[in-house]
Structures are given as C-alpha cells and as structure tokens.
Symmetry: none
Subunit: 254 residues, 2 copies
C-alpha cells in the first residue's frame, strides 16, 4: 500500500518526546507511516523521541510539523478525534474497529483521513473534537479507562492493519495448523499408525469387551486426529510405539 493512501496520525501538542517515539513505534508495528505533529511542546526534532523510536526513526524523519491543528488537517477530508470523555457534541462515536474500517473505506474513496490524538495530560479540547467526523473512543473498562498516548495509537493501528491487510501484506505468519513444515500427514498414514496402535492394544487385552471397542477406538482416533501430526511427528509416534512395545531394558522383563 502506498503511503499516500494511508491515514495520517496527528499528535496534537504532544508533551514528552519519549511518547512521540513510542507512537512512531506503535504505528510502524502495524504499517502506519504518516505522522504529523502539531506544536510539540519541546520543539522538533527531539532527541528523546529519536532515542525511543529506535528503528522506527524513519517515521519521525518523515514527520510533518505544523503550528496549528487547522494547518495539520487542511488537506484532510475526514477526521477522527480520539477521546475518552463523554462529549456534549452530537458527533457519532466509533470504536477502534469501526473507525479503522471507516478509515479504510474513506481512504479508498479518495479522502485523506486524519486520526487526532490529544496532549497526554488533557486530551483533545472541544474545538479539536468539533472538527471531527467521528469520535474514536476505545471500549475500555469504565472503571479504569485511561490509555497512554502510544497505547491509543497502537490499538488504532492494530485495527487499521486488520481492516487493511494489504498494508502489511508481506507479513509472514504461518498458516494456522501444521507449522513445522509441517502439514498434517495424509489420513491414510495416520490410519496406518492407529491400526498399529490398535493391534498392539488388542494383543495386550486392552479392549475389555467387543461391544466397547468401537467407542474406545473412536476416542483414540479423535484424539490423534485433533493433534493432526506432521510427517516428522508421526515418525516420532511410530518410534515411541516401537519403544513402548520393547521389553524394559532396566526392568524385570529381561
């Protein structure tokens, strides 16, 4: 995804450089790269921000700095204001997941989308919130709602990446299941192991009655089917069964 098609994260009057650096990290964790700063308290550039950002320093280097919020969002077609407080404004409220989906839709529709985050101590003022198309409110525990700045950015960024998987499309998550290279064995190979196990159990009088045998067999099949062993694991199971059927080297059998 081109950087021009991403929303911009706008930090309004951020106070601590460390927090700006942490925000840059949180953005890049989920593929967001466009940062704007409105009147950062300690000026710009900020050594503490750079130190904290570490390998996300490219986000800081390309950050755009503005004197006012109006300037920062002048080219934006859609604006979200992040706030925890209840407001008297009629602006619709969206959770992070809905906000992320809207941001993706609006971006696809050609709008530059801004997500505003307020100063650490006070949050966005009413004038800033009044500019917004939507209030972005995280669905936190009402008894303990407060998130820090970078955590708020992280939660939005995480939802944005889910809503826009192309953003981190080269991500290398292993597919669910069969991970050690590693797909589950073909059913016939698992059945072959299960047949061997069943014969060994049968020879040792495990199945107490013929009537119970199908149920017990089904239980064993279900168990090993759920485990979905890979080739390597099935070889290990065969080896373990062979070993168990051996006489104890140290035991009384010899």
């Amino acid at each position: 995804m081109s950087g021009n098609l991403q929303p911009v994260v706008v930090l309004v009057e951020p106070q601590l450089g460390e927090n700006i650096g942490m925000c840059a990290r949180a953005m890049l964790n989920f593929g967001l790269r466009r940062l704007r700063l409105v009147s950062p308290r300690d000026g710009w550039p900020n050594a503490a921000a750079t130190a904290t950002a570490a390998d996300a320093d490219a986000v800081l280097e390309s950050a755009e700095v503005f004197a006012t919020l109006d300037d920062a969002v002048a080219d934006c077609g859609r604006i979200f204001a992040t706030t925890a407080r209840t407001r008297s404004l009629a602006t619709p409220v969206a959770g992070a997941d809905e906000a992320a989906r809207l941001a993706v839709d609006w971006t696809a529709g050609g709008s530059l989308v801004a997500i505003l985050f307020g100063p650490e101590a006070s949050g966005l003022d009413n004038a800033a919130v009044a500019k917004a198309d939507r209030i972005l409110a995280f669905a936190t525990n009402p008894g303990f709602p407060s998130l820090n700045l970078a955590q708020s950015v992280l939660l939005f960024a995480s939802e944005w990446a889910k809503a826009c998987p192309e953003a981190i499309a080269d991500r290398a998550l292993a597919p669910s299941g069969g991970g050690d290279g590693g797909a589950p064995v073909a059913r016939r190979e698992l059945d072959s192991f299960l047949g061997r196990l069943e014969n060994a159990l049968d020879e040792r009088g495990f199945f107490l009655t013929p009537e119970l045998k199908p149920t017990t067999r089904n239980t064993l099949h279900s168990l090993f089917s759920r485990a979905a062993p890979s080739d390597r694991e099935l070889a290990l199971l065969h080896g373990a069964l062979t070993a168990l059927l051996r006489k104890d080297r140290r035991g009384t059998g010899d």
Copy 2:
C-alpha cells in the same frame, strides 16, 4: 463476569517491575484481573511494579507467584503461548482476535485458560511453547514486528474485551457448569501422563542422545497439548500406556 471465569495472564520470568505494572494497567483497561507471575527476576512484591501500576494495583495485589511455569499452569486446561518467532512445532497459530474468541469459548466450556508471555529480552523458550494449544502471534508489520510486553498484553486484552463484552460491563455471567465432561484436563494431569510416557520411553532407550531429548520431548508435549484430552480421554491414554507396557499375551514375551 466472575474472576474465576477469566483467562489468566501469565508473565514468565518478567524482568522489569515497570513492565509488570504496565501489564497490570493494560489488563485492567480491558477488564482482565487475573495475573500470574513465574519467577519474576527482581522478586515479589516489587515497588517499581506498584508505582507503575498506579490505580491498577489491585491486579498486582491479587497476583499469584509461582516458582515454575509448570506450577503456574497446573490447573489450566488450555494454554496460549505468545511468540513472534516462527517455530518448528506444529502448534496452530492464532492472531489476537481469534485467540480471544477461542479463550472466551474455552472458558465458557469450563476450562481455565492461560495466556503466556515470555521474558522481555528473549521471549518464551521452546519448552514453554510446546505446552500450548495455540501460538498467539500478533499480526504485526514483518519489517518492524517487535512489541513490548505491556503492548502485547494490551492487544490481547482489547480483543478479549471485544469477544467478551460482558467483561467490561461487569455483569455477572451465569456459571458455565464446569464443562460437560469433555473439557480438557488440567495441565498437571496432562503433565503427569507425559511424565509417565517419557519415563517409559526412557527406560526403553527411545531417546537416542541426551542432546536430542528436549526437542523430542517438546514435540510429544506439543502433540498431546494440541489434542487437549478430556478426563475420559486421558484415562484412556493411561490405560493404553499400561497395556502397551504389558507383555504381549499372545506373543513371544511369555
């Protein structure tokens, strides 16, 4: 929601008290309250953790401390291991949203669910991951994947609250009735079976070299963890192992 019906967040060998405090905050932000610590580096209680947790100190005060991971998950029926690295184990991988939905489902089914987070510097080791039913992997930007401990906890907690909105509403859920006889056994029971299996294999010379033993053991643990046997199934596994160790009634051993 009763605290008994929540997953437990297990921090394995956490290093910095500040991070433990931040994890407590992240948990409480989304209504998670059950924290377990395995061998925290700087001991417990930890003043830095308390200072950082601030109003989430109740989470720290009720935290349970264990000497080993085995102890910490002994009563857990389902385990998630958080890790960013690709593993050779076949354990299925879930993103935070899927993991949260599974955790809610499994909890409703009567299992105590544990979410493991590793030490800051190194993450979880392979033996810890081998205990897991699922690997929890955050879908981060592969070019910048690294999340800190509290951020990982925050992202899981946020998804958990979405999957279980009653948690934040603080409404009491009806007790689930502790499963239908089909819920997975507690971890200590599975460990007891795995220990018995391992001893039998050891006595029969299955582990060819001491160097290979941990890998082989991890593979077996992962396999049976994924299968998540119920009480009845574990009893069957014990019975089958007993039978396999018997001399063949019809064979040459007698």
